[in-house]
Point group: C3
Chain length 661, copies 3
């Protein structure tokens, strides 16, 4: 592997060819190394059915390569052209209300449409046939942001047919399906697989088992759609295959898609996510208006580092990953779109590298003055003058140019699981029970204590690398993880709602959590409106969700009225397993995670508000998300400031936890 690199997304088809050389010269001058192109070019590469036009693309690749830039080439399947949609109008997805999701923007296809899949194989074959062995293309991106704009699901006839086949494969017989879903309830039984409907437009909620099965199916369709492209590509290229996942997108299982790819990447829009896609208090949003949530990006970094390990059997802490699109300025798609604080475009990149990113590509080179994203900032303004992001990108490029990618292994593992996201979307039971938010609550607590995390999949069979393992809201604990918990010699903190459902979305017997060695039963659950937090005796409160716990295990957290809130027991492996029966507020989460971390022998810090830190093999990186300067052990950080402190060179401070590199 080469060194860390910075790059940019570029759309040669948007600009006159005469502009390309100067663009490319400036990219190189800024120290950029990678350029992604091509992911929306179908109408230009195949302007009419069967009539290909590669000339302009050949020339664009040439200009880029001549300047020493590495090309990442996208397959254009996210934007089928009008002539193709007109040839097979039923290829578009239908939304839950039964309406077609029509041509005119992007992602207007149903993953289950066989005709469209054939067209995708054809165009990818054509593109790979031409460029697969071209050394100037160092990586391929499949499609673009699977699932974005709620496109993982479709309620089309094609989807219904494919779902029926999927059910037939999974359940073997209609009776087995009826039993698995509990269809006896409300006379929902089917006599044949072709009686299976899609779970939309029902009078009241559909069977949650039906919905979860449909979500599993929909995820599988994304993975198999992607696999059809990777199969075509693998035959024709040895370059890295990548997909750019959209942040905050849980419509399909990213590890499943990742298993067919060499590198994971994600599209990071910190300010857009904070404004549009996080259910956090208004005051928090105000404080981080121009910085983004201080933990949202890191969480995704750690997640995609894990997704990037799916193919090769690497450790989740050691996967290959990139940022494929990094916000450089205001975006166009959130309710409000403020500009980042000066320095944030650099900070975000440094944070990604600290978490192990190989490359960070800014989106996009020049702000397009036309079409949907014309208000989305680039590194250049539409008039080609440098926008604020360019200097920051160049600064980062210089700073990391000679550094090898990598990060330190996490001290804390957080189990994240897409089917759990589907399960709690299907049946939140409390209007604000949102799985990613729950995971972020625990992730944030550990990060505020200065700990390094890995995000790991539910299928993990060995927890020994992590002194502390967090398992919030994991709907089903697989056998392998169950064994790993039992065998763990250090701390595990599970709950709330852990192991609360079978894989078929039923309540398991024995009742949850049914964790190894822990005599603790959830006797009753309740969801709570905002005004009804339940204070904990030790400080903080349970919010949104509370479980009544019974059993003989040790009570380690209690409500102020004495009822148990968390119970714990020794594991077979000599560790200690704690089950928390509720959603902790931030204060409770911090207190509880601190206790667990300390019991696990981890040194924790009290980081100032907005400051975060991450170790790499060579550095401790300090980041300031606050809009004011903050003091850290490594010195004073201005707003958006970054300090990369060499670990070996750091004088040990008496007041500070030890860095065990």
């Amino acid at each position: 592997m080469t060194s860390r690199s910075v790059g940019v997304c570029y759309y040669p088809e948007h600009w006159p060819e005469g502009v390309w050389p100067e663009d490319v010269r400036r990219m190189a001058e800024a120290g950029l190394r990678k350029v992604r192109i091509g992911e929306f070019v179908w109408s230009r590469c195949e302007p009419a059915p069967g009539r290909y036009d590669w000339g302009w693309l050949d020339r664009a690749i040439g200009v880029l390569a001549d300047a020493g830039l590495e090309v990442v080439l996208g397959t254009p399947t996210a934007t089928p052209p009008k002539w193709l949609v007109d040839r097979m109008p039923d290829m578009v997805a239908l939304d839950g209300a039964g309406r077609p999701r029509r041509f005119g923007s992007r992602r207007h296809y149903c993953f289950s449409h066989e005709g469209y899949r054939a067209e995708c194989r054809r165009i990818v074959e054509a593109m790979a046939g031409r460029y697969g062995r071209d050394p100037r293309i160092t990586a391929w991106q499949t499609d673009n942001e699977y699932g974005c704009h709620d496109t993982a699901v479709s309620y089309s006839p094609a989807a219904r047919h494919a779902f029926q086949e999927w059910c037939a494969r999974r359940y073997r017989s209609p009776d087995a399906l009826n039993r698995a879903w509990g269809n006896v309830f409300w006379s929902m039984e089917v006599r044949d697989f072709d009686e299976v409907e899609l779970p939309n437009l029902t009078v009241t909620e559909p069977n949650p088992a039906h919905v979860l099965a449909f979500r599993r199916f929909s995820s599988d369709q994304v993975a198999s759609f992607n696999r059809e492209q990777t199969e075509v590509l693998r035959k024709r290229t040895d370059a890295d295959l990548i997909h750019n996942y959209m942040g905050r997108e849980t419509g399909f299982d990213h590890w499943d898609v990742g298993a067919d790819l060499d590198v994971a990447s994600w599209d990071s829009y910190p300010i857009g996510f904070l404004s549009d896609r996080l259910d956090l208090p208004a005051e928090h949003k105000r404080l981080y208006l121009r910085q983004g949530d201080p933990d949202m990006q890191a969480f995704h970094h750690d997640l995609y580092r894990s997704v990037g390990s799916a193919k090769d059997g690497r450790s989740p802490s050691d996967g290959r990953w990139w940022i494929m699109e990094q916000q450089p300025g205001p975006v166009n798609w959130a309710p409000h779109n403020p500009a980042p604080l000066p320095g944030m475009a650099r900070l975000w990149a440094h944070e990604a590298f600290a978490h192990g990113a190989e490359s960070v590509l800014y989106f996009r080179w020049r702000q397009a003055p036309f079409a949907q994203e014309q208000q989305h900032a680039g590194l250049l303004r539409p008039d080609s003058v440098a926008a604020p992001g360019l200097a920051e990108a160049a600064e980062v490029a210089g700073e990391v140019a000679d550094e090898a990618p990598g990060t330190a292994p996490g001290q804390v593992a957080l189990v994240f699981d897409y089917p759990s996201a589907w399960a709690w979307e299907t049946q939140p039971q409390g209007a604000d029970f949102e799985y990613l938010h729950l995971c972020l609550t625990f992730y944030r607590a550990a990060r505020k204590l200065g700990l390094d995390l890995d995000v790991i999949p539910a299928g993990t069979a060995d927890l020994s690398p992590w002194p502390l393992v967090l398992i919030p809201g994991l709907a089903t604990v697989p056998d392998a993880l169950r064994g790993a918990i039992a065998a763990h010699g250090a701390r595990v903190l599970a709950g709330p709602r852990a192991n609360a459902k079978t894989p078929e979305m039923a309540i398991p017997l024995p009742l949850p959590p049914d964790l190894p060695g822990l005599d603790c039963t959830v006797a009753l659950v309740e969801s709570l409106p905002p005004s009804a937090d339940m204070p904990l005796a030790g400080g903080g409160a349970l919010t949104r969700w509370r479980e009544a716990l019974e059993g003989g295990a040790d009570v380690v957290e209690a409500l102020r009225d004495g009822r148990p809130a968390a119970m714990a027991a020794r594991t077979e492996g000599g560790g200690r397993l704690t089950y928390l029966g509720g959603w902790p507020d931030d204060a409770a989460a911090l207190r509880i995670v601190r206790r667990e971390a300390e019991a696990a022998g981890l040194a924790v810090r009290d980081l100032p508000e907005g400051v975060r830190t991450r170790r790499t093999p060579t550095h401790r990186v300090w980041l300031n998300y606050a809009a004011e300067a903050r003091d850290t052990p490594a010195g004073r950080l201005p707003p958006a400031g970054v300090i990369r402190e060499p670990i070996t060179g750091s004088a040990r401070r008496a007041s500070d936890p030890e860095d065990d590199a």
Copy 2:
């Protein structure tokens, strides 16, 4: 009639037969007497078209009856099986946006579909033919929760056709319809009944007369659908016929359906209703989070006691009614689903008995671990361990086992009227003008004063049983009631918005309220946003709605600026009729109802916050809905506490109003 009884809803089809005997033994042991079964079993009783399977149901009935339990058997028409829907796909309702309300949950039928009606007659005939004369079946429930999930209305072609026929019967000629609806307005005139559309998808609001007619029609369809079942059943059984109405459901006229049934019953989910279906202040919802609104249940008890009198010409205060489904723990369907305070499952039952319930059945025996309601508590947990509700149900069962059903006649009558609910939904004129909320405002005031109420229909022709009659928001005052008001010798409090519309949803002439003997005219109405309450000189304020009153009657309430807010006059019968021109806030409602009650010679109390009381023929029952202990004349009540004070045995207290049993 036998004594009060407690029961439970049971789903033998959900469990292995081997579990039934132990379930039934525990039911009997808990003192339960009635068990409802069968209301969703179509796919099990007729697994394929024309192929009946009664064996399992025979055996289930046998097990129940062998343990001495009485069986209430439901007709399964709320959940037509898939094969039936596939045979007649147009049997599903269409929603207001024109979308099918599809198979996959329940109530997926249009009340106007003749083909589905024929299928319902067939399955009910089959079931009644087999079990109609079976003495083990002591009652039949028709269908399940008519109207729930907004299913009373449908915009299907079947509904349109039936509506046109209904219009032809009601109006006789298109011209008459045009005149009745005022169709000259906006050139909406029709030339033939087959030009009559359903009132959906119009550019701006449809003609309110059109909407009201459609709502009347939709209600009639529910009643005739139910009647088709009762006609089949009456020929084959002498058992009581019952329907379980859903609380807070005003999609059809319950008295109309009740006229064909022996007993009314309703499904009471106090915490779900408070969370999801009452527009009350957040602080009120916080105070009663785990108890439910203190007046919502009682209002429904009094309502269904009246509905239960519809068939036999009984007094509305003396109808037969049950709770068919009583919440025993957290439900699954509200935005948030907290657990009840310990004791509430008992309190709710005692309140029902105090209001005259014959039976209270908890929903359901064992929490189902599968399908839509898996997060809905039962008396048992999914693992068959007793949930908190079981002990409370058993306690109530013991307490009421030897008591005869009955309640004391109300001192105050509240007129409630489904067409008024439709009228004000059709034309609220103020966004928050909600009829049931208005009625509950007056009901609550009387209850807080310790008064016993009856809810009576608008067709009541004799008000003499009630010293005080409340008539809020009755859109049209029928002639019989008009006569009764005139003849009344005690107090009547009407308004706001009483007699404000003709039966065809027009403003009547003379202008409202046009009440007998009262020289008072509503010169102008206005609706008010939340910030614009209008204070009354006597205390409290008008909120949401205010009318300008003119005329020669006595001004008995005035705004702070002197304008009249209520006017009154002597009735022919020697009583006094007051018209209130606005929606009183809680303080004003309490003050005004107190004055009227005292003027009517009723003794009122100042009940502590959350305490309510009701008399039966033998007891005064005290209930504490507050989350803290409260003092009452009968002693100190803990949260969820109930005191049943024998009336004859109670020492009269000087400080307390007299109980006139």
Copy 3:
């Protein structure tokens, strides 16, 4: 031209003929002069296809004219009858979700349906043939409230076909369209015009250029629909042709429609607009609950005075205009509908006359007791008793009877532009960026300073009449206006977001604002959530929207942190052009407009809260919108009070700006 007149809207078809004479007598008695009739009578004039019935209309006109009343006759095309819709069911519009907007209210037609257009020409021909030369008809109204209820747009097949033809005319070739819209983005290119879709139901947002083109097309369809009627009418009548525009309606370009009409008129519902259609703070809405926003009506008056100048090349300050419908009491269509303060029905009319209205017609004569608007007040109650509005209408009628219409030319011009409204609806970039609201912010500031305004179209080529010109949010500055700015000898205040888009909804190069002589570039824009106002050094703040300004022009406003917020330069004409890079809050707007006005040599006042003033050729009119009495230089004004101070007779006061009549 004759004198100012007051009138009323009347619906003879709603009442028995026997009532007409007394109605008309009372109208005349009240001093009313104009009566509008007929705009919804299609089903009565043509009760069956081809069967006309004019008799009743002949008689109604006769009764009115016999009493000396002038008749304004409406064409009935806003309400096609049922038989017509049944003959061509595809004539209805489809909404953005693809649902038909069906018969049953009004405006249920698609402007692009050729069949319906033919029917409209036919009925207008029939009506004009009969009444065109009838001297009793002094004016004709075409249709009714074009665009109301979101009806300017339709997504029907007819609209799609017409849009494709419109595109073919505008762009000439598919390639030109692709280039104009930037369709290379996301492979949205079309190969033929029949591939052009309507911009609805896309997966994520459609191309904003596509949307803006569709909005231009939709506006053009309204204008050509109206023109078809005026072409029919011009051949058959010499009476004034008028349309009654709905207030707060920006679905089409009113100047374009106005170019075919003699007089503009608008429908003014101050309280409904405040409640329903203005995004203003709750406290403001509370203060003006029964008065309406103090600037909303005046803004529309000035707007329609300009629209009324479109045909004849008059000055925008001198157009002919009426109020066709004036709210006289509570309306029926807002979320809450409070009654006006006593006096407001008179104040609103006087304000209209002060701004130059020829006539003010109240809507409506008698409150209809039936159909959709039965809760809408009239001058009479449904029982024919005078409602409060009648006396106020009569009072105004008396006050203005001998006065010539007219107003004073504005001191300040505000450029208003429908395409800018479409542009910012298409791409707000900040959720609360609303063009009319932005314009009203500047309009309000000038009005609070006692200044008189003209609203002028973006095509204005000579700004010399106005010492101060305000150009907020004008998406594209046309060449003529650009020249006028350069040549202007006084003050111009432009921005934010002025000249920010090309006519094809792209970002122009050079970057905005690119105004003549002003070295100022918007380097970056950002939208701000409510909590993130940015204080200005001089007081007040930028809110919702902020631009980073660069360039060599003078910095005349700065943020508190010193960054420029407004820049200015001398114009070629010797004036001064200022560009403001943000949305000023009310305090900043008042301060900045005051400075500009004073610099322009205009005398400003500090009007008390709620007081407004306007000059006519003969009077200075003082209006009190406050609910409390207010002192003015002309004396103390009670709530809703009006003082009309003769200008020549007014003693000059030392403390007061000079009135230069």
